[in-house]
Amino acid sequence: MTEDSKTPLLDQLEEGPWPSFVTEMKRAGEKNEMAKDLLHQLEKSYKNKIGYWKHGGIVGVRGYGGGVIGRYTELPEEFPAIAEFHTFRVNHPSGWFYTTDKLRQLCDVWDKHGSGLTNMHGATGDIILLGAPTDALQPCFDDLAEIDFDLGGSGSDMRTPSCCVGPGRCEFACVDTLDLLHDITNEFQDELHRPMFPYKSKIKISGCANDCVASVARSDFSVIGTWRDEIRMDPDEVANYADGNMDIQAEVVDLCPTGCIKWEAETKTLTIDNGECNRCMHCINLMPKALRPGKDQGATILVGGKAPIVHGALMAWVIVPFMKMEPPYDDFKDFIRTAWEWWDENGKMRERIGELINRLGMRAFLKAMDLPPVPQMISAPRANPYYFWDPEEVK
């Protein structure tokens, strides 16, 4: 019955230079009724300016509490093929690297069981397989397992963690982001697959302060690579940048936030007062041939980042200024477990760990983590006199 339906509004989105998702929906629709009905329902949304998806009915695969998101159209008579149209979140390999063999296998499984539509990738990092009926879920997962693809997280669990490309292709990486990610994803399989926390919990790993996976904004536990010693410098390459078209004084020195770089144009000498450098990455970003992070590398751990729901957006806060990050990453795993335990014990339903720290106070969190307060944790000390003493401290 959808045969003569037209999609005049969506057709307009096939024009223009940017790749068209409408074209992709039509391609999938040529082979698949679900994709076709999805296209027609979307046209209706474009016409009436409202969505038609329902919230209701728990679905999943055996053994797991998450990884599949249930979806039902409000208009099953009009669009029967998408009456049930559930999403798989499939755990991606570290750094989103693929062999084409692997991707082709994935496509074959998805054409067999689902709509043939995907998101490469979802905002959390998973491969999103968009739309399969309830009956197809278990057989589809069985086939995915056959080709070594496991599910990611959803609901109140650890969500699929993600990381930047790191040492795979970036000379700035101070942490082996790909290995750390793979290691902890395997370590925390239970937490990933069986929701049992107050709410979702996210871990994201960036190799340096450029934070290419936006961990500070999007994760409860943000790992950002850094160093403790001195920026490595190749003076000849500095001179080459100066001989090229870079204005080192204006573009590098004047923009250094701590004013710790000096440039002598006559002698083409750059000096960095490393004790005063805050490792923001700006100078290194501009002169990657000449400057490199130091050699005593590790990570800063920040906690509490999240999007607005429920009590407003937060950016993560520095909790551990420096942690060595080497396999088997025991310190990091212990840290995560202790923090989860505290949150699990004290958190209310739908309270992210950042909100819990806000509610109970940073001091309670630091005590639970057995961490000493240090000035690296704050941008300024308090400005109000309402502070507390433990009776133990008043003697």
């Binding site: 989105l13 940017w18 038609y52 755990n91 084409t100 539509l117 937060l314 806000n358």
Partner: protein, 352 residues
């Protein structure tokens, strides 16, 4: 019984040989031209990356197409980025230009590196979610068609990250973007008491409301909403299907500016509200594409080199931002929801 808990495919099996050999031993990189990066290892090995924008919502046939390209030019390897871009990894220099020529011929969008706009991170919208106030893919397509020149060229003073979320749940966490496009509702939920009674746990729904706008209605064994307290977040609807907030007239778009993630030069920043409401006008949302272009071009023509949107605004002041862009200032832009955690540090850039 299917095996469980075996984890993601091992990335080590996915890496091309040149990356295996130079893993952790990259020496430097160059931005060759828009869309093309060159990484050079300590060994002297070279790796060219060609970045391609994708619509994110793609068919299996599209994936097979790009696999074909990677098999022809890249030894059967490819990767994606954190912003839904696709990257072809070329270790033989003589294949670089033929690859780029092939991509252009086939209509792929090469760009998104360096001082260009990258692919907008975005969400599901009307395609697959129950709480959207707008569509996601459609606006992104319209905005990127309009700003295409900024994806393929280096015409801006610094990075500019554009993101979109279709409701204030903000999947994709758009709240630290240079320009964020956010769907918003403007009407309190309508209550279907039968559904509330049969399907919802009333205490949980009450607790979910950030502003305390929901109260029990013991007589009706249901709930009431104090409309003046409701800021239309839809939290109650996520908890309870009897309280939908979507509405064709109430729903639309807000625009936020000046956010930043990296710690380079200045700490990460939240995006701030610049335009409280624009109408949903599918399929091409002209009001939104005009507003985004205006903000982007005003910044690009006034900012110093390497100065991100938020850094520029901090330097010139918000009052100047509004006078230069011509965006009217309205009472919605003044915050009245408090969060007092701003004295904690949010940057790993500090002194030992």
């Amino acid at each position: 019984m299917t095996r469980t808990d075996f984890g993601p495919p091992n990335y080590k099996e996915m890496l091309p040989p040149v990356i295996k050999e130079n893993y952790g031993k990259w020496k430097y990189h160059e931005r060759v031209k828009p869309g093309v990066l060159l990484h050079v290892g300590e060994s002297g090995d070279e790796l060219y990356t060609v970045r391609v924008g994708s619509g994110r919502l793609v068919s299996t046939d599209w994936i097979r197409d790009i696999c074909g390209i990677a098999e022809k030019f890249c030894g059967g390897h490819l990767r994606f980025t954190s912003r839904h871009n696709l990257e072809f990894l070329v270790s033989e220099k003589e294949k670089l230009e033929p690859l780029i020529a092939h991509l252009k011929e086939e209509g792929y969008a090469v760009g998104g590196t360096g001082h260009s706009i990258s692919n907008p991170v975005h969400t599901q919208g009307w395609i697959h979610c129950h709480t959207p106030a707008t569509d996601a893919s459609g606006i992104v397509k319209a905005v990127m068609d309009d700003l295409f020149e900024y994806f393929t060229d280096w015409k801006m003073p610094a990075h500019c990250r554009v993101s979109l979320a279709c409701c204030l749940n903000m999947c994709g966490a758009v709240h630290c973007s240079d320009i964020a496009i956010l769907g918003i509702h403007r009407k309190p939920p309508t209550i279907d008491h039968d559904i509330v009674r049969s399907k919802c746990e009333i205490p949980n729904v009450i607790a979910a409301c950030p502003t305390g706008a929901i109260r029990p209605d013991p007589k009706a064994k249901s709930l009431t909403v104090t409309d003046e307290k409701c800021m239309y977040c839809g939290n109650c609807y996520t908890m309870c299907p009897g309280m939908p907030v979507a509405d064709p007239v109430g729903d639309g778009i807000s625009i936020w500016v000046g956010g930043k993630i990296s710690s380079a030069r200045t700490p990460p920043k939240f995006s701030r509200l610049a335009i409280p409401f624009l109408p949903n006008n599918p399929p091409r949302w002209p009001e939104v594409t005009d507003a985004v272009r205006n903000i982007l071009e005003t910044w690009a023509s006034h900012a110093n080199k390497h100065e991100r949107m938020g850094e520029w605004i901090e330097r010139v002041g918000w009052e100047r931002f509004f006078s230069l862009t011509g965006i009217p200032f309205s009472v919605q832009l003044i915050d009245d929801f408090t969060l007092a955690s701003d004295t904690y540090r949010s940057t790993p850039a500090f002194k030992w």
